[in-house]
């Protein structure tokens, strides 16, 4: 039982990661691929934040009367990673817009040439 209490958080996060990952590799539409990529990454961020949590701790901002703080390091890492994620999303979506203009479609199975498949 304690086993489940210890890990339930990580397991659900793994499920979320895999849902996102599945969308990335199975989706036919390029926009949906990007959405999947975002879900995948956001779930990985959740794993990091879970690492940083200390039971009974509080947000790592000094305040009176608080003795235990959660670990600030994963927070810093994930701040950076979120920014990286949005940067990738922006470039990916810009590519999708251009692909739509060049090919007239953003569905993977509608590209005529097999070489163009993504």
């Amino acid at each position: 039982m304690s086993f489940i209490v210890d890990y339930y958080n990580y397991w659900i996060v793994v499920f979320l990661m895999m849902a996102g990952f599945y969308i990335v590799i199975s989706a036919n539409n390029l926009v949906k691929k990007i959405v999947g990529l975002n879900i995948f990454q956001t779930s990985v961020f959740m794993m990091y934040i879970s690492i940083g949590k200390v039971s009974g701790g509080s947000a790592p901002i000094v305040a009176e009367g608080i003795t235990t703080y959660s670990n600030p390091l994963p927070h810093v890492l994930i701040l950076t990673a979120i920014v990286v994620g949005v940067a990738t999303t922006a470039v990916g979506l810009a590519l999708v817009v251009r692909i739509k203009r060049a090919y007239g479609t953003v569905e993977e199975n509608e590209f005529e040439d097999k070489e163009d498949l993504i």
């Binding site: 199975s26 975002n38 956001t42 817009v97």
Partner: protein, 325 residues
């Protein structure tokens, strides 16, 4: 209590993610992604990562969703059914998931204060950073001083994204006469938006300069300030917005922000310190740290504001162009 809320939120996330897999209406997919982002930000708050929640809410639910909607407006709303079998993806996902579950079996228990992650490097940040840096917000201390090089990289990433989007889509030209377009028929919305926008900019300034004491900082402030202009552009139309904040100016601003950040680091060379060692910026190390952090947060804020807004302009400009044709 925190664990219970965590579990409920994770459950909601799981359901949302499952729904996204099966929905074919991309518009709904994007809306659910917004919810997903909101929910994950809630989880971050619940797990004490307030700064991260701040960023995730403004970036994931705000900027990403707006950009996705902009893309959908240009590419169409419906996903066509795919005809290739979904077996291989399922297999790949199954194997990866199994590997992760296998790996989780030796993970340190969730939330245990004796975990290695809380024992080795982090205690120094928690115990000494208020004295060494002089700021109550440890996340800001680590972000802007101990690991400032990561943040410089992050600024460079934003800048790279702006360059990428500009090279792909190009910036819209500034219109000579600013015609109001946008949501013409929504009078109430226009009035309220005009009220909200100055408040938002005020809030952005607060976040920028209060980030040392509470959640927030240059990145979040930049995003919120950009969001204010984005709101303006959505309600009153892109031509009006480009009149207020010119696209050409944004390019300069984005470059300037990176230079402010890196320049602060280089300045220390000549004062006898290492790159990004702010101790030398003032006679007192703590004061020096403070000056350095304010400067680099300013650089981050400017770059993020300019980059996010120019990315939005690029997408909106595309939509505007196809609308005319």
């Amino acid at each position: 209590m925190a664990e219970f809320i965590d579990l409920v939120l994770l459950g909601m996330l799981a359901i949302t993610a499952l729904r996204v897999i099966f929905l074919k209406d991309l518009f709904a997919v994007v809306m659910l992604f917004g919810i997903y982002s909101f929910l994950s930000a809630l989880i971050f708050v619940n797990l004490d990562a307030v700064d991260v929640a701040f960023t995730e809410a403004s970036v994931g639910a705000g900027i990403s969703t707006v950009l996705m909607l902009g893309t959908l407006a240009l590419t169409g709303r419906k996903e066509k059914t795919s005809n290739h079998p979904a077996l291989l993806p399922l297999l790949v996902v199954g194997v990866t998931g199994a590997a992760l579950i296998y790996g989780s079996l030796d993970m340190p228990p969730f939330g245990d204060p004796n975990n290695p992650a809380h024992q080795h490097v982090a205690p120094r940040y928690i115990e000494d950073s208020p004295q060494e840096i002089g700021l109550p917000n440890m996340v800001t201390s680590v972000l802007a001083s101990y690991r400032a090089f990561d943040t410089l990289g992050e600024t460079a990433v934003v800048f790279a994204a702006a360059i990428g989007v500009l090279s792909l889509l190009g910036l819209p030209k500034r219109d000579r006469q600013a015609i109001e377009s946008g949501l013409k028929s929504h009078l109430v919305l226009r009035v309220v938006a005009k009220l909200i926008i100055p408040l938002t900019i005020l809030f952005a300034l607060y976040v920028q300069f209060h980030g040392d004491y509470g959640p927030g900082g240059g990145f979040q402030a930049g995003v919120i300030a950009a969001a204010a202009i984005i709101l303006y552009a959505l309600v009153l139309g892109l031509p009006m917005a480009t009149h207020v904040v010119q696209p050409a100016l944004l390019k300069t601003l984005a470059a300037l922000g990176v230079l402010i950040y890196a320049g602060t680091g280089v300045a220390n060379f000549f004062l006898g310190g290492n790159f990004l060692d702010y101790n030398m910026l003032a006679s007192d190390p703590v004061a020096g740290q403070h000056i350095g952090i304010i400067l680099i947060e300013l650089g981050v804020g400017i770059t993020v504001f300019a980059a996010m807004l120019s990315i939005f302009y690029a997408f909106a400009g595309q939509a505007e162009r196809t609308n005319i044709q």
